[in-house]
Amino acid sequence: MAPSYNTMEMMICVASRYLEDGKTVAVGTGAPCAAAMLAQKTQSPNLVILFEAGGISPLLPQMPISVGDSRTFFRAVMAAGMTEMMTTCSRGLVDYAFLGGAQIDKFGNINSTVVGDFYKPKVRFPGSGGANDFASFCWRTMIMTVHSKSRFVEKCEFVTSPGFLSGAGAREAAGLPEGGPYKIVTDLAVMGFEEKTKSMMIESLHPGVDLDKVKAETGFELVIPKQIGSTAHPTEKELKVLREDVDPLKLVIGRA
């Protein structure tokens, strides 16, 4: 019998599995940081965690509340600066980065800036922060988000951070380095991108979720491959490490 878990735990466990050992990952606070910590404590002990404000490979004593707080460089191998981290990404040394946003479209572009008129917005969000930079520089960007029709839109009202822009060939034409969105992990499914069109494609459905549910919560037409996988449940071990070692105060996994 599968263990019980909430959707946040599910997303974190699933996302963590994509983080290969011996790679680098730039993380923010919250779920992405939890996913990276979990990966480190399970299958990827040599995963290197980086924070954009300068923390390099800390021995995180607890979940940071800011990507620049003192936890992000607690017993780090180096306390560097933002330019150091961003240029490390720019020259190709960072494999994964996690992004979030208010909207994501079928080419994996993200809006975290405004809804409505830019000059007098209906809703103003934080903007890029380092997201546009990570999405431009890192080899594989990861997205963790709740799956809903208002979030998964045909076209972002504002493209804050680049996915595949307008599709195949568009990143190259814009002058962006090779890279782009890799996996989108939601509470319903995992999506990737079709090689040829760079359109979002369903890869696996979470336990108990059917395709229609995902379609209903997606505001554009997903590419449906012949074979759709089934996401594996979080394992006992993943949940134990996540709950006891990664986030014992339930700062993140308590939010589901």
Binding site: M82, R124, R171, G175
Partner: protein, 327 residues
């Protein structure tokens, strides 16, 4: 120079390196006593309308005392560098201090959520905004620090962030590849909180530097607030540790707990209760007004603010949190 594409929004500062050079030519290099109070600093270096930048990272190693003083002095029409701003931004929005903004990260407090009042201010249309990213703003400061008028980077390209910026797309003369060119930015004044400084402005911060190396080298005036003043001999005993040399610095303000309610690495953690209180009371503008009167406008100095927030007992708790003595 062939420009392939360009952002539509204005630059708020002149990227001419020769004008900056003329300024820096006049700036004194003498190693003299630069100690001032936060009041004097705001009076002298942060006039209405100037372009301001804040060091640290939003609620980590920030010069809170000077920002409070900016509010109390009712400064208006500032330009602001919204780089990695969080609580500093929230404060300046509370005072409606700025009317033009280079934005990379604003209105949010990271994992803590969004500031309702900062959002209201930014949704009002009263503020001119030019959009950037964390790295592109660091690169703008870096170009200024290098005394050149632009830097090239590989982000922003292809997005609306670029379109709403003041960047341009150019080609590399060696490879023909496209790059975003971002203009140098010399802020009028930067305020940076550090662990230690001597009276001349030689300053040391520990832990991550965020963008403060670039900021202290690009701003025309640099204000240091320091947890602790140390002797010049202390600085000279370990020159490898110095972050900012004196000749960049215009004023030094001694300010223990100066980053409160933010985190100061190795000294004290952020006061999450107080920061949460801000976001809560901001929901109701009337409540928020009273809150600001109580904590900022109605106090005479930063020490009084610290008292109202719980004083030494609260600070002791935050010290323990930082040092992982308590969880």
């Amino acid at each position: 120079m062939k420009v392939l594409d360009q952002g539509v929004n204005p630059l708020f500062m002149d990227p001419d390196p020769d004008k900056a050079r003329e300024f820096f030519r006049q700036k004194t290099r003498a190693m003299v006593d630069k100690r001032m109070t936060e009041k004097e600093v705001v009076e002298k270096f942060i006039p209405d309308g100037c372009y301001l930048a804040i060091g640290g990272f939003g609620a980590n190693r920030i010069p809170t005392a000077v920002i409070h003083e900016i509010l109390r002095a009712r400064r208006k029409n500032l330009g602001f560098l919204g780089h990695t701003s969080t609580h500093d931004f929230e404060l300046l929005c509370a005072g409606k201090c700025f009317n033009r903004l280079d934005a990379a990260y604003i209105v949010g407090l990271e994992a803590r959520g969004l500031s309702p009042n900062a959002r209201r201010y930014m949704e009002s249309g009263e503020v001119k905004v030019t959009e950037w990213t964390n790295y592109s703003l660091a690169a703008r400061l870096k170009a200024a620090a290098e005394g050149v008028s632009f830097a090239v980077i590989r982000s922003m390209l292809g997005t609306d962030t670029f379109k709403m910026s003041g960047a341009k797309v150019i080609e590399c003369p060696f490879t023909g590849k496209k790059f975003a060119a971002v203009p140098a930015l010399w802020p009028d004044v930067a305020v940076i909180h550090v662990h230690e400084a001597d009276m001349y402005g030689n300053a040391v911060f520990r832990g991550i530097s965020v963008a403060d190396m670039e900021l202290s080298r690009s701003a025309k005036h640099v204000i240091i607030t320091a947890e602790k003043l140390v002797t010049n001999a202390t600085i000279r005993a370990n020159p490898t540790a110095t972050s900012i040399p004196f000749y960049l610095v215009d004023a030094v303000v001694e300010m223990p707990f100066g980053s409160y309610p933010g985190n100061m690495p190795y000294l004290y953690f952020s006061d999450e209760e107080h920061l949460a209180q801000w976001m809560k009371v901001e929901k109701d503008p009337k409540e928020f007004e009273k809150f600001l009167d109580h904590y900022i406008y109605g106090v005479s100095c930063f020490e009084e603010y610290l008292e109202r927030c719980g004083g030494l007992k609260k600070l002791k708790t935050l010290q323990k949190l930082e040092n992982l003595v308590e969880k």
